[in-house]
């Protein structure tokens, strides 16, 4: 190891390297680095959601009796907008016409995350009339805006059957929250766990686990 010896005061020429000490030096440095990395763990952990944030997320009860056909009600659940749309019979009938242009008409992608078992149907809903979905675009989390009027209009195709347009990146969804093909958003809108307590009362965030 003569190359380590030089003329600097730390390594006078002729000095030899004590490999035993060097091994201990390496071990000490390694142990120090491990200790430093271990200290980083609690600091990084503080970034995770706090216990309070985890606890917030109780189910929400909604009275849906006042929603008229063709109207939408937005409620907050876990800080996210949840839409309750009462579809008109025409709107329900138009859903099947969209299938050929949709990326995932049968809700087959990530069904466990996006579509509960009872919503894996054409309308992605328990009752065909009511659609319940989280109004957060699966692309980058914007909330799509309503485009219920049918027909040609800016940013939409001429044979538009009503649905949603995300203002951020132009993704479009039909009235069952299904995403159209070749749009930035990869997935359909999430249908949250929900159930009907009565005809007028809907609970979001909880369902009857069969």
């Amino acid at each position: 190891m003569s190359d380590a010896a030089g003329d600097s005061p730390a390594f006078p020429s002729g000095a030899t390297v004590d490999s035993g000490r060097r091994t201990w030096l390496a071990i000490t440095c390694g142990a120090g680095a491990l200790g430093g990395a271990a200290v980083a763990v609690p600091f990084v952990s503080t970034f995770a959601p706090s216990e309070r944030a985890r606890a917030a997320g109780a189910p929400v009860q909604v009275d849906i009796s006042a929603i008229k056909p063709g109207e939408k009600l937005t409620v907050e659940w876990r800080g996210k907008p949840v839409w309750i749309i009462r579809r008109t019979p025409e709107q329900v009938a138009a859903l099947t016409k969209n299938d050929k242009d949709l990326a995932d008409p049968k809700s087959e992608r990530k069904p466990a995350d996006l579509t509960p078992v009872y919503a894996r149907n054409e309308g992605r809903s328990i009752k065909p009339e009511f659609f319940v979905g989280v109004g957060i675009c699966s692309h980058l989390g914007c909330s799509p805006s309503d485009r219920f009027t049918t027909g040609a209009q800016p940013s939409l195709p001429d044979d538009w059957n009503g649905g949603f347009l995300c203002p951020c990146h132009g993704s479009t969804f039909d009235l069952a929250g299904r995403v159209y093909k070749n749009k930035p958003a990869p997935d359909n809108l999430e249908v949250p766990p929900h159930m009907y307590v009565s005809d007028a009362v809907l609970v979001i965030g909880e369902d009857k686990k069969a």
Binding site: P49, E76, R78, G79, G141, P144, P167, P184, P186
Partner: protein, 468 residues
């Protein structure tokens, strides 16, 4: 330790005080010489050389105004929006401090973009200034993080939804994405936890990193010396007696005084914006940000602030069709490298295998993820510039004439991408931004080839300089 100096007999108080200081703190006196009075910069600096000093000025403005804003601002989801309005309406002169800070953010990007363009056209990133360029790119990256996190603090609609979109970018990363974005937000949606941590990053963490990088940028620049519009190494021709470069002049007083003029003009424009157009028609302060954040409703049209829009356009450009184009280009690159790469033996098949793996990855992850990759890659690719450019000369002055057109097109494409990023998405707009994205990446990735083509002009021995 250096020898103790003695002030000459009968010297004035000033000389005595300075001698006293120099004996006790010689480092400061050495630094003054190394970085100011004996830092020899080329004498042919032109207009483009104002922007480095101006960037430093804006950094100081941002730090000073930021310190005063923090005295009144409240980083709390329930109080933040009102506290900004309080600064604007009730704090004496608070509006001025806040407008200086908000206009300063845009001004920072104006001068930094011009500063980067200077480096691009005069080849200031080439050997031996690679590290100066890399530190500069890191500054640009830190600046983007700083601006993005600062934009959340007013807690307006654009603050909220902009943050929502950018944090969700991280969720697109396969496997770890959703957990990563949760870790960044600190909650299941952008909320109080997010606001608090962004405040912490914006006022202390990122500025510290930024200052450190600026010091590294300047120290490394002063170690290798400044480039100039001719791209000539002035250190190659020195005065035989003094060893000072013949084309160099001391930074102080020549460029310090010169920069005072640039600063004066800059401040005229800067103050004009602050007083007459602080919102700049919605480009510096977006109109929707005067509405408090509403987690249930995205504004009808959302776009980032102007300085992010070229990259935002590239993000939007990546649709499923665009991914198919990427697959095609990957295949072409793989086949070309197989035929002409000059690899030996089994390695000959490496480009084909690599292209196949990349193509499979392109098709198996969402277009959304590749959009994020493209957006990040558009910034990261700048780091590689010193190694992409194989041109024998530095400055555009001595490159083949058609290079000027190419660089001009590059600027136009970047500006068009920026414009498209502000506009709502349209079919034509998406096609244009896809073409622009391909041009942007082609410019850099094909540079190893095109930068060697054509007829280079003879580079003079000494810099081109006409005394005024």
């Amino acid at each position: 330790m250096a020898e103790f100096k003695e002030a000459p007999a009968g010297a004035g108080t000033l000389v005595q005080a300075s001698t006293w200081l120099e004996n006790r703190f010689p480092t400061a006196f050495d630094a003054y010489k190394v970085h100011m009075s004996e830092y020899y910069a080329p004498k042919n600096f032109n207009f483009w050389y104002f922007f480095g000093a101006l960037a430093l000025l804006v950094l100081v403005i941002q730090i000073v105004t930021g310190i005063f804003l923090v005295m009144h601002y409240k980083p709390d989801a329930n109080l933040a929006f009102a506290s900004v309005e309080y600064i604007m309406r009730d704090v004496p002169w608070g509006w001025l401090v806040r407008y200086m800070h908000s206009t300063g953010a845009s001004a920072f990007f104006v001068v930094v973009y011009l500063h980067m363009f200077r480096g691009l056209i005069y080849g200031s990133y080439k050997k031996p200034r690679e590290l100066v360029w890399i530190f500069g790119c890191a500054i640009f990256l830190a600046l983007m993080a700083e601006a993005f996190m600062g934009y959340l603090l007013p807690w307006g609609q654009m603050s909220y939804w902009g943050a929502q979109v950018i944090i969700n970018l991280f969720a697109a990363i396969p496997f770890v994405g959703p957990d990563l974005s949760l870790l960044i937000r600190g909650d299941y949606v952008v909320g109080d936890a997010t606001l608090n941590r962004f405040f912490s990053f914006h006022v202390i963490a990122v500025p510290l990193v930024l200052l450190g990088l600026v010091v590294a940028h300047l120290l490394s620049l002063h170690d290798v010396g400044s480039n100039n519009p001719d791209g000539i190494e002035i250190k190659a021709k020195r005065d035989p007696k003094t060893g000072i470069p013949l084309d160099g002049i001391p930074f102080h007083p020549y460029y310090s005084v010169h920069d005072v003029m640039g600063v004066s003009v800059f401040l005229m424009i800067f103050t004009a914006v602050i007083f007459f157009a602080p919102e700049m028609g919605g480009y510096f302060l977006e109109f929707n940000n005067f509405i408090p954040a509403d987690p249930l409703k995205t504004p009808l049209h959302i776009a980032p602030v102007w300085y992010f829009t070229p990259y935002y356009s590239m993000l939007r450009a990546v649709t499923d069709d665009m991914v198919n184009v990427f697959v095609g280009l990957t295949a072409v690159a793989g086949v070309l490298a197989f035929l002409k790469g000059g690899f030996k033996g089994l390695w000959k098949f490496a480009p084909l295998v690599g292209a196949l793996v990349l193509a499979v990855m392109l098709k198996s992850f969402d277009a959304k993820f590749w959009g994020v990759v493209v957006m990040g890659g558009a910034v990261m690719i700048l780091f590689g510039l010193p190694w992409f450019d194989k041109s024998p000369v530095r400055s555009i002055r001595y490159r083949p004439s058609w290079n000027k057109i190419l660089y001009g097109v590059f600027v136009v494409v970047f500006a068009v991408l920026g414009y498209l990023g502000i506009q709502p998405p349209t079919v034509v707009g998406t096609l244009m931004s896809q073409a622009g994205t391909l041009f942007y990446f082609g410019f850099f990735l094909l540079m190893p080839w095109w930068s060697t083509w054509g007829e280079f002009k003879p580079v003079p021995d000494r810099v081109t300089f006409h005394a005024h």
